[in-house]
């Protein structure tokens, strides 16, 4: 049996994962062509429990409830197709079930795509290069895989100050975390004024004219993709990057940042 659901969020239960022997992983190929479908394996699914009935096992599987999201950060252009692909096999010989979960991914534009899956406390990242990269066609703009041109790693987080109290505490702690600020201070590119190129701004900042050029460009990109009442993070290292929802915890944020180091 194969079930497919055409949405970006892939959900499964933390309880179901608790019996997994290894931490969940997101694995698969790193290259694809436009229109080509590739599959990424999501490991860590709950194992078949022979002490339970088939119905309970199926129920456990069906309860792949959710705190986990899977999203794709992609270059500008048509959005890729990304959906879960679930297979369940029944063995008549020992009346057991086996199942497998994959992410079906079909890119629609060249460039670097980053698949991000947040599974419990783990943030799983998988990069897919979609090519070939088309050489620049003068006189048009040079295509870039980075969200904005950046002289090294730069980062902008937008949050709505008036919604801070509504955020989960673990996410709100990111803004005042010394670990996040110290990491960014030591790894972000130094801008013209010699200061690290990262900021945490209110998302309705009207006047960013006093900010460095690279952060003004970042603001335009991140602001365009920001969701209402949801903090958004933008990262660019000049070659690739990510713009999407701010991870849920300090650890996940650092993991995401480190992946673009």
């Amino acid at each position: 049996m194969r079930a497919m659901m055409a949405f970006l969020c892939l959900l499964w239960s933390s309880a179901a994962l608790s019996g997994a022997a290894e931490p969940p992983q997101l694995r698969g190929g790193n290259n694809a062509a436009v229109g080509e479908t590739i599959y990424l394996d999501v490991s860590g699914e709950p194992p078949f429990d022979a002490s339970k009935t088939i119905g309970d096992n199926l129920a456990s599987f069906a309860k792949w409830v959710t705190i986990t999201k899977v999203v794709a950060s992609s270059p500008d252009g048509p959005a890729p197709e990304i959906e879960p692909d679930v297979q369940i096999k029944f063995s008549f010989s020992d009346t057991s079930l086996a199942w497998d979960m994959r992410v079906k991914f079909t890119p629609r534009v060249n460039g670097t795509h980053v698949i991000v899956a947040a599974v419990n406390s783990d943030l799983l990242l998988h990069r897919v290069e979609v090519g070939p990269v088309v050489p620049p066609q003068p006189p048009g703009p040079t295509p870039t895989e980075a969200p904005w041109d950046s002289p090294g790693l730069t980062c902008l987080i937008l949050q709505e100050s008036q919604s801070l109290a509504s955020l989960p505490t673990a996410q709100r702690a990111i803004f005042s975390s010394d670990r996040v600020h110290k990491w960014l201070t030591s790894h972000a590119a130094k801008l013209a004024d010699g200061e690290p190129g990262y900021r945490i701004w209110d998302d309705d900042s009207d006047d960013v004219s006093g900010a460095p050029d690279v952060l003004r460009k970042a603001y335009a990109v991140v602001k365009a993709k920001a969701q209402p009442d949801q903090p958004t993070i933008g990262i660019s290292n000049g070659k690739t990057g990510f713009v999407g929802p701010l991870p849920a915890t300090i650890d996940e944020t650092l993991k995401l940042l480190e992946s673009f180091q």
């Binding site: 109290a165 505490t169 673990a170 990111i174 005042s176 975390s177 010394d178 110290k182 945490i200 603001y219």
Partner: protein, 251 residues
């Protein structure tokens, strides 16, 4: 856990004369108060006091309370020294904390660059909202451009007035209840709190787990309290008025 000296209903008189003060009140008139936006006007959600302990616990474990952040990232408190400008020092330190949250960097601002033009370069007390309104309309200078406590016309130059504009308060709002003050602090925004009993204005930066006492940061230098931090308990923590700065002009 309390931090620094604990100021209680029983011992507060001993703290009255320890340093310069100068708080006349937050608003000079009822009209001034009415014209200011409130927490409720902005539709900011409250964090129920019954939820505070879990939040405090989680923030402390992450080393992400405001007072932990100030210590970890090295933001010193202000020292109003010989001035009566507590009513400027409190919102100034709030602004420094907001900048720290935005950039991870320590910005040292000059309370004198705000208080002196308002008071005609006189060393006298003032109203908290005067400082905030000035900071919103004109901004504040870095201490490297205008020494923090230098009440002098010689620094009131066109160049400094222009430099101020990079550091303007985008918006501030009035907090009308203890639950609003706690919500604001636990959401990561310091408050500027005026106390008539103390004739003083200081920053609210933290809530003590279980007791819900208030952790403040004073402007009497790093040698006072625990790097300027202290704890107000009982009715001492009930401010006459409180305000909070949402954000500064992006830099």
């Amino acid at each position: 856990m309390t931090i620094g000296p604990v100021i209680t209903d029983g011992n507060y008189q001993g703290f009255l004369e320890q340093g310069r003060r100068g708080y006349l009140g937050m608003f000079e008139s009822a009209e001034d108060r009415r014209e200011s936006k409130t927490f409720g006007d902005l539709g900011i959600p409250l964090i129920k006091e019954s939820d505070w302990d879990d939040i405090i616990d989680e923030l402390e474990k992450a080393n992400a309370t405001l007072h932990q952040m100030c210590k970890s990232l090295g933001l010193p408190c202000l020292d109003q020294d010989g001035t009566n400008y507590c009513w400027v020092n409190a919102p100034t330190h709030c602004a420094e904390m907001v900048r720290l949250l935005e950039t991870g960097r320590v910005f040292s601002y000059s309370p004198a660059s705000v208080g002196s033009p308002i008071k005609g370069f006189r060393n006298i007390g003032g109203w908290g909202s005067q400082a905030l309104t000035y900071m919103r309309e004109n901004g504040i200078n870095l201490a490297e451009d205008w020494p923090a406590n230098k009440i002098s016309r010689s620094y009131y130059t066109d160049d400094n007035q222009e430099k101020k504009k990079a550091h303007t308060v985008a918006e501030y709002f009035v907090l009308e209840s203890w639950e609003e003050r706690g919500s604001c602090i636990l959401a990561g925004r310091p408050t500027a709190d005026g106390y008539s009993w103390w004739s003083h204005e200081v920053c609210g930066v933290g809530i003590v787990k279980k007791s819900h006492d208030l952790i403040i940061r004073n402007s009497w230098g790093m040698d006072w309290g625990d790097q300027g931090f202290a704890t107000l308990t009982g009715s001492r923590k009930q401010s006459t008025d409180s305000v909070a700065i949402c954000a500064l002009k992006p830099l």
